[in-house]
Symmetry: C2
Subunit: 246 residues, 2 copies
Amino acid sequence: MNGDRFAAEVTVIGFDGDDTLWHSEDAFARAQERLVGLLAAYATGAEVLARLKEIEGRNRELFGYGVKGFTLCMLETAIEVSNGKVTMTDIELLLEIGREMLARPVDLLPGVAETLPLLADGYRLALITKGDLLHQESKIARSGLAGLFGTVTILSEKTPDSYLQVFGRLEIEPGQFMMVGNSEVSDVWPVVAVGGWAVLVPYPLKSLHESGFSLHQSSPRLRTLTRIDGLPALLSGAEGPSGATA
Amino acid sequence: MNGDRFAAEVTVIGFDGDDTLWHSEDAFARAQERLVGLLAAYATGAEVLARLKEIEGRNRELFGYGVKGFTLCMLETAIEVSNGKVTMTDIELLLEIGREMLARPVDLLPGVAETLPLLADGYRLALITKGDLLHQESKIARSGLAGLFGTVTILSEKTPDSYLQVFGRLEIEPGQFMMVGNSEVSDVWPVVAVGGWAVLVPYPLKSLHESGFSLHQSSPRLRTLTRIDGLPALLSGAEGPSGATA
């Protein structure tokens, strides 16, 4: 039976950070609400969010992911949507929102603090995130989880190639690796594509640049869980015959 | 004689990127000049630069190094120095300066394109930079030098510990490593402190947050060169009896 168990040969579990181990997207959502409120005299909420998404898209190649680039995009959006009529006090407020997002405490998702030490007993754990380098390092340090991870890798994009490089450094085959994360685009498909395993744990709020995009595909190498504390049962084969795929 | 040669046991040469292999600080200097010009009605150039330096200092822990954080600091400076009277057109201009800095072509320093392939013949080369993750990766890719480096490491800070981690990954002793860079703070002292070798190649423009700081110390494990193409002679022992230390 062991050979049929989901991810039976896995020795390394990779975890995404933002919105998998700790809250992140909720702060972006709150910042967007404040941007919408601030621009209420100039455009509807939907118009503001559409413009923000467009501006984030055109700046993605230059800015990448993370709070600093997001703050610069909010500023561009405020100026464009208001035709330059937004006040300097509003600009200061947006700068302040960015600093608040960077400074806010790390808030772990339910089940994370209990589950990761259990998994660290039987597996090597790797943290594989993307975003602002310093901000990610700071969140890892403040999470209280850093000691559980044998390796920490911060990428600008999570692609099949970047996962293959991680496997090389860890000296494992793809089939020995399972990724746990909230993003199909970053945590699931590039891993499954190169022969690894993946567990999707969706975050209630979807990031703006991913909304509208979903694979809606099943794979024998993918499971979906509603909470991370379902992992030990899934890995021990106690999940039941049909798996926990949603 | 061989044992007395500078860095005789070195097998890996680490290179800093910004202002060592390619121009970077000149763009920050030009951006600062434009900020000074834009605020000429409100303060002297010295006052503007002093305020910018103070704002960069207080945001360093949140922003780290790199163009995006620098852009946010220029915006804060413009608003503070003008008491909120700076125009929205000026804010837009500062946002545009940031995007220009991120998008500008990689401009190699003199001697780099010729010297690195020579060194790659006898040594393993490692690129060790700090700054915005995506921007650094993009500059490395556009530099045309990526193929010469066995490893590329992007750090949020260059500390003795971070160099020791690099040595661990490269599986070398500190005495087998030599760092080449333009910054005493980042490229020289943390390397020499843990038993490595260092070659300082100063950049004509010193970065604002480092000006006023200099070790002015000599070490048998440190040499100073005016151009990177002095490296092959230095490493072959052809530098002359007293070394090239300034």
